[in-house]
């Protein structure tokens, strides 16, 4: 057996997107030895693709905006399924997190008065999204990255964690492998924060990058953490639909924020029918379903989407406010968006569900294990508002870093890592090399994506979900003998074989959570239960946890907000 390279830290953060970087900065700032372990190069995480903006009630545009309105918008957008305390903390703390970014060097677009400019977005009462054209995520990640590298954080790039290690109940470290060499590395840690983002790659049509395979959610589940509300998967209404190779790539909501209009093949402005009050700035669940119904009704665009038109705005304005959309359509689809409409349709975008955490501390039920950002659940309820993800990363990334640091500093001795556990984890990771007869990981992945897209997609029913669950059972069996060819250095087939483990866990949690929730709410739509059921399902969260070798799916009561917050929602 090879001798393992070993490193020891107070706090390890898995994932280097916005949440991971923000958590690391905080933990390091508190005096903890801190490392980030991330499977891509630094600065390439999926946060870089966030386009439209980051939501914070700064009130720079209209003075009356405040945290209370942001809180109410978030809860209403989440169809009352949000963890109220997270929504409250988020609304209160987001403006400070933005100011802090500016002080670290971020350069947001400005108002004529020299303040941070804010744009309107779906579901937000006021102009609330601080932005940099349509590349806000890049600005955010670059700012945090540059702050991070000068904060004494060690970064292990292209290093993938394959299993968490435990000392009794407590988390004690992680086994990872270097992508470059395929060799293992052991991290000992007093606290671990999971900031690995979402799981869009479990679906065929997705806006997510290759990394979004739910790794951290799978790691936490295997280590004993609970998953919350996995059935709430956001299908962003506007992904590209043509040509085939770009299907699913995001078309920012900022197009609608800047005045874009959605029309069907008959030229009818569809949102007049589905949400005449908010029109194109309705919430994503409503707009996605509107497009779905129009296409289903035979009024789709040439390639089965809707037409999204911004060309009534001046060409120079479009190029300035939506530069990467202009470039994306020009270069990938031969469409000049300053002259004509784009074709768009729903694409798997974001998971509202994920690891269950304490609202204030981001702690999971596993001592020493924390989660932040998209991998954690609760903040967004049944539907996330655009712009609330980047602010979530900052608010709860910071909180996770803070609590992990406190936990690490409160331990009298570092947890021990067990040599046998490490050996087992390494052997498990190498299994695909020993398989001779099994399926290729790419073939299994394609079948998983088809299964999720066809049976656990935007519109669900008991029959379909049961088919989806049966399909997942078969995929699980095939995954047991998945085969990897070639050798360990930089072998994408091997990497995918390991990523499939997490994708299958999260897929099962989505499908079984969706089967359990017999109502339609936010992003979760049941054709056989089209109504929202406030009495029963409005009061429960879905929980998935490992029990023996199997997944146990149950419910837990939704935490009820205090009267003063309830009153805010009644007042409006």
């Amino acid at each position: 057996m090879e001798k393992f390279e070993t490193h020891e830290y107070d706090v390890i953060i898995i994932g280097a997107g916005g949440a991971g970087l923000r958590a690391a900065i905080e933990a390091s700032n508190k005096g903890c030895s801190t490392a980030i372990v991330c499977k891509s190069l630094l600065g390439k995480a999926h946060t870089v693709m966030a386009e439209g903006g980051v939501a914070a009630a700064m009130g720079n545009m209209e003075g009356e905006d405040n945290w209370k309105t942001h809180f109410c918008d978030t809860i209403r957008g989440g169809k009352f399924m949000n963890n109220w305390r997270m929504a409250e903390l988020h609304a209160k703390e987001a403006p400070d997190r933005i100011r802090e970014l500016e002080q670290w060097g971020a350069v947001f677009d400005r108002t004529p008065e020299g303040k941070i400019n804010q744009r309107p977005f779906g579901g937000h009462t006021h102009k609330r999204l601080c932005h940099v054209g349509d590349r806000t995520g890049l600005e955010l990640i670059r700012t945090l990255q540059d702050k991070g590298v000068h904060s004494g954080i060690d970064v292990y790039m292209e290093c993938t964690v394959s299993q968490l290690l435990k000392d009794g109940e407590k988390v004690s470290g992680a086994l990872a492998y270097w992508r470059e060499t395929g060799r293992f590395v052991v991290f000992k840690a007093k606290a671990i924060i999971i900031c690995t983002g979402g799981l869009g790659r479990a679906y065929k049509i997705t806006s997510n990058s290759w990394e979004c395979t739910g790794d951290g959610i799978g790691l936490a589940y295997e280590a004993g953490a609970e998953l919350l509300d996995a059935e709430f998967v956001q299908f962003h209404p506007t992904g590209m639909v043509w040509p085939p190779g770009v299907q699913g790539i995001l078309v920012t909501e900022a197009v609608r924020g800047e005045g874009g209009i959605l029309r069907n093949s008959e030229g009818f402005r569809i949102m007049e029918k589905y949400d005449p009050e908010r029109m194109e700035l309705s919430t994503r669940d409503v707009v996605a379903k509107a497009i779905y119904h129009e296409v289903k009704g035979g009024r789709g665009s040439e390639h089965g989407g809707m037409y999204l038109d911004i060309s009534h705005r001046p060409a120079e304005y479009i190029k300035k406010k939506l530069p990467s959309m202009y470039m994306q359509f020009m270069e990938l689809a031969d469409v000049d968006i300053t002259k004509g409409p784009m074709e768009v349709g729903p694409t798997t975008h974001y998971t509202m569900g994920g690891i269950r955490v304490e609202p204030e501390t981001a702690a999971t039920r596993v001592p020493g294990l924390y989660a932040g950002g998209e991998a954690a659940a609760g903040m967004h309820g049944a539907n996330r508002l655009g712009g609330n993800s980047l602010s979530d990363l900052l608010v709860f990334g910071r909180r996770a870093g803070l609590s992990a640091a406190e936990h690490a500093q409160g331990l009298s001795a570092a947890p021990t890592v067990d040599a046998g556990q490490i050996e087992d984890a390494a052997n498990s990771a190498l299994e695909p090399f020993n398989s001779k007869e099994g399926d290729d990981p790419y073939a299994i992945h394609r079948d998983l994506q088809d299964n999720m897209q066809d049976y656990v997609g935007i519109m669900r029913s008991e029959d379909d979900l049961k088919k989806g669950i049966d399909g997942l059972e078969q995929i699980k069996q095939r995954l047991k003998t998945v085969r990897t060819d070639g050798s360990r250095p930089f072998n994408p087939g091997w990497h995918l074989a390991l990523e499939l483990r997490a994708m299958v866990v999260i897929s099962e949690a989505i499908a079984r959570g969706a089967l359990q929730r017999k109502e339609s709410r936010g992003a979760h739509t049941r054709l056989d239960y089209p109504e929202t059921d406030a009495e029963t399902y409005g009061k429960i969260n879905s929980i998935a946890a490992k029990s023996g070798k199997d997944m146990d799916v149950s419910t837990a009561p939704l935490p009820q907000m205090p009267d003063e917050l309830k009153k805010l929602l009644e007042d409006k």
Binding site: H46, R110, L138, K147, G245, L250, M327, P441, Y442
Partner: protein, 244 residues
């Protein structure tokens, strides 16, 4: 269905060779789709980096028919498909495996650049026309294509003496931030080796974000360094009137 032939470099730091693949061509297909098709159906261990597939992350840089490009943006219908298309890793960095190169040097360079240093007691008021210069440079997606085509790095291998266009752009984004108070001129002159750039503009041509690297970042920085260290008139003025 139409087909195309690709010759993709397979190998590692010890060498390698082009391997030929034939792939089906669909409308709007890009080179990265070809690489994915090869991984998915022929060679699952073909190494390449990619993340977003939407030209926003700068991971999938390679040399397609000799031209440094983002594979996710290089469309097959813009390439001559009557002969094989070659795909090679970036030349200015050591090969790890196949199309993946060791770009870690870039991350080391970045650590040495003095970070954003705000003016004391600033009120954080900035106006759009004043932030636009810095914003242009902050569009950089770190694809390192500019580093790859820069002959100081590519031909002369001066990685120890020159930080390359990407990081001159990074310095420019800080120097031209309206509220930055840091001084990076000595760094630019000495460690960064800005004098080694002789303005051939290869970097500007290679930039997928269309940043005017040479005109808007390198030349103004060079001017600042010259004013500070080499301009006799400025020296004299400074002598009489003190530092600006």
């Amino acid at each position: 269905m139409a087909e195309a032939t690709f010759r993709v470099f397979r190998g590692d730091k010890n060498g390698g060779e082009e391997v030929e693949y034939t792939v089906p061509v669909t409308e709007g297909m890009v080179v990265l789709d070809v690489i994915h098709h090869i991984q998915g159906y022929t060679d699952p261990d073909l190494a390449c980096r990619w993340n977003c597939k939407a030209a926003k992350c700068g991971s999938c840089s390679a040399e397609v028919n000799g031209k440094p490009s983002l594979m996710c943006k290089t469309r097959l219908d813009h390439l001559p498909l009557d002969r094989p298309v070659t795909v090679h890793p970036l030349k200015a960095f050591p090969v790890i495996k196949d199309l993946a190169t060791d770009v870690s040097w870039n991350f080391e360079v970045n650590k040495k650049i003095k970070p954003f240093t705000p003016k004391p007691d600033t009120d954080w008021v900035m106006y759009q026309p004043d932030v636009e210069r810095a914003q242009e440079f902050r569009k950089c997606i770190e694809c390192f294509l500019c580093q790859n085509v820069c002959h100081v790095l590519r031909e002369h291998d001066k990685h120890d003496n020159f930080i390359g266009p990407r990081f001159l752009v990074r310095v420019a984004s800080l120097e031209m931030h309206p509220l930055d108070n840091g001084n990076r001129l000595e760094y630019l002159k000495d460690e960064a080796g800005i004098a080694l750039c002789n303005i051939t503009k290869c970097c500007t041509e290679a930039c997928p974000e269309e940043i005017h690297i040479t005109d808007n970042s390198i030349i103004p920085l060079k001017e600042r360094v010259v004013d500070e260290y080499y301009d006799p008139l400025m020296r004299l003025l400074r002598k009489f009137f003190g530092k600006k």
